[in-house]
């Protein structure tokens, strides 16, 4: 068959399969992320239908997917919300970090990933999926509940923690000497701080200057700048993901609102490609040997997320029902855990990291929303 025909047939069948899976996920009120991962596992090495021709496109698409996920994460909250979140939710945020990072990190150490490699596992178990959580709050009608500001402020804190954590992981992933890693971490953190301060003081004015009345111009401007900054960041050994995240934080006000609307269909497409790609890179035959580890981590970190949400809500004076909901809303892990695991896999931490992370996210992205629904139903007064 001719190359173009084969390429389109392969890509077309992948995307159609994703569409079917997303539809199934929607039907059951679940996140599509675990389904995309499953799709990737099925198509990949040792899977049902191996992809050959479209591999290059999927590789590039996956890289773009990571960048779009991160720029959208940055766009989600304004610099003021992030700085405000640091002050108001520091206690709850730090507890959340301690409770949920530790199990992954300890697990990594036990599995022999080493002190640095285990950082990736800690990141995977720490960060809740802000996409899944936001959707849950809307779907379950929890937006106006009294515990919701608590849940959101924990997400904001996690977002901020990512701003510090990603440069560190990025530097570790790119490798090199300790000196090189340290200098790129310092450079990245300085950039994070500068962008936060500049965006908080002058963000609105800068964004207004860049804003055009044409959606087309806005889309190309934001996408172009994001890719440029991501590329430059990668070049100076501060992972492209961090660069994209910084662009997202820097854009604020009306421009951020517009950019979110314009980028989200692109994000949906390329993030799905990224999830598939991550699934593709994992040999499903490895999963059975790590199944126990996955289940243990899932059980422990479900409990620790429930605990951190419960405690934060209690600290804010919320009653028992609200405390349970706050915990349950936060359980889902998803896109950012995959981003972190992806960095770890490309850094060559361990062959098992990818398989464990994929299995773990499959479990957490599915059970999180289900648990929230169960808690929601049982907490109707």
């Amino acid at each position: 068959m001719d190359h173009t025909a084969l390429l389109f047939l392969e890509l077309g069948s992948v995307i159609v399969v994703l569409a079917v899976m997303a539809r199934v996920a929607l039907r059951f009120g679940l996140s599509p992320i675990p389904f995309y991962l499953l799709g990737g596992l099925a198509f990949g090495i040792g899977g049902v239908i191996p992809l050959v021709t479209s591999e290059e496109f999927i590789n590039t698409g996956a890289e773009i997917g990571v960048i779009l996920l991160l720029v959208m994460l940055g766009l989600e909250y304004s610099a003021d919300e992030l700085l405000g979140g640091m002050r108001t939710s520091a206690k709850a945020g730090l507890l959340d970090l301690a409770l949920n990072f530790t199990p992954g990190y300890a697990g990594g150490l036990l599995l022999g990933f080493g002190a640095i490699g285990s950082l990736f596992m800690g990141g995977v178990t720490y960060i809740s999926s802000s996409g899944v959580v936001a959707k849950l709050l809307g779907d379950l009608g929890w937006t106006a509940n009294r515990e919701t500001p608590v849940v959101l402020s924990i997400l904001v804190f996690e977002d901020l923690a990512m701003a510090v954590f990603l440069p560190i992981l990025g530097a570790v992933a790119v490798g090199g000497t300790i000196l090189a890693a340290t200098s790129s971490i310092v450079a990245a953190l300085a950039a994070v701080a500068t962008i936060l301060i500049v965006a908080s003081r002058h963000g609105d004015r800068l964004s207004r200057m860049a804003l055009s009345s044409s959606d087309e111009v806005n889309l190309l401007t934001v996408l172009g700048i994001t890719l440029l900054v991501a590329g430059a960041a990668e070049q100076i050994h501060v992972s492209a993901a961090v660069g994209a995240f910084l662009v997202g934080i820097g854009v604020s006000g009306e421009a951020a609102h517009r950019a979110r609307g314009l980028l989200s269909p692109l994000r949906d497409l390329f993030a799905a490609v990224f999830f598939v790609f991550f699934g593709l890179s994992i040999d499903p035959r490895r999963l059975p040997s790590v199944a126990l580890v996955i289940l243990a981590l899932a059980a422990i970190t479900t409990a620790t997320k429930l605990a951190s949400g419960w405690w934060a809500a209690r600290d804010a004076g919320i009653g028992p029902r609200g405390r349970r909901r706050a915990g349950a809303a936060l359980v889902a892990r998803g896109e950012f855990s995959i981003v972190i695991a992806g960095l770890g896999v490309s850094a060559g931490v361990s062959d098992d990291l990818g398989a464990i992370a994929a299995g773990y996210i499959l479990v957490m992205a599915t059970t999180g929303p289900i648990l929230a629904r169960v808690v929601g139903r049982s907490s109707v007064p």
Binding site: E76, Y77, E81, G84, G85, S130, A134, L137, G141, W142, T143, A144, N145, R146, E147, T148, P149, L152, S153, L155, V156, H257, I318, G319, R321, G322, S379, V380, P381
Partner: protein, 161 residues
């Protein structure tokens, strides 16, 4: 006048709410895209939304008109937008406040904080634009306009003198 509480919901929008006389929490979530969500919580379970109603921008305006009042939050927003850094607040006067039973002039609010008392609400009757000779009573609510810092100062004056 009912006191409206404003809560930022990062990534979602802003929530405005108040307590009814019977203790139900009632309010509106202004979603970032302009969608409004009206919600009601029962008095015995203030954490959980018992009923919510989604309204588009247009529907929300119609709803507001039907209620016979312009949305306070919007008017507030306009006011704050026209003068940057301006804040407006409702301050209650405790019975044990040193200025309960004394005049606005005695408290020297404007001299000390730059904040203006634009109205006093007693029971449910408003007294607009009170002069310095206006006597503050316990359980009055002062409507004040000024900088957030100045308003914090007024709170201090009203509680400790």
């Amino acid at each position: 006048m009912v006191r409206i509480e404003e809560t930022q919901l990062p990534g979602v929008g802003v929530r405005y709410e108040f307590l009814t006389e019977d203790g139900e929490r009632v309010g509106v979530v202004h979603h970032r895209g302009g969608r409004r969500e009206v919600f009601i919580c029962r008095a015995d379970e203030p954490d959980t939304v018992a009923l919510s109603l989604e309204l588009s921008d247009d529907e929300a305006h119609t709803f507001g008109e039907m209620m016979g009042v312009a949305t306070v939050a919007e008017r507030l927003g306009d006011l704050q937008q026209s003068v940057e850094g301006l804040a407006i607040d409702w301050l209650g006067v405790d019975p044990d406040s040193p200025y309960a039973g004394r005049t606005i002039g005695d408290a020297r609010i404007r001299t000390r904080t730059g904040v203006s008392v634009v109205a006093v609400i007693r029971d449910t009757a408003p007294f607009p634009a009170p002069g310095p000779e206006f006597e503050i009573e316990a359980d009055d609510t002062l409507v004040v306009v000024g900088t957030p810092k100045g308003i914090a100062g007024v709170t201090g004056i009203l509680t400790v003198g």
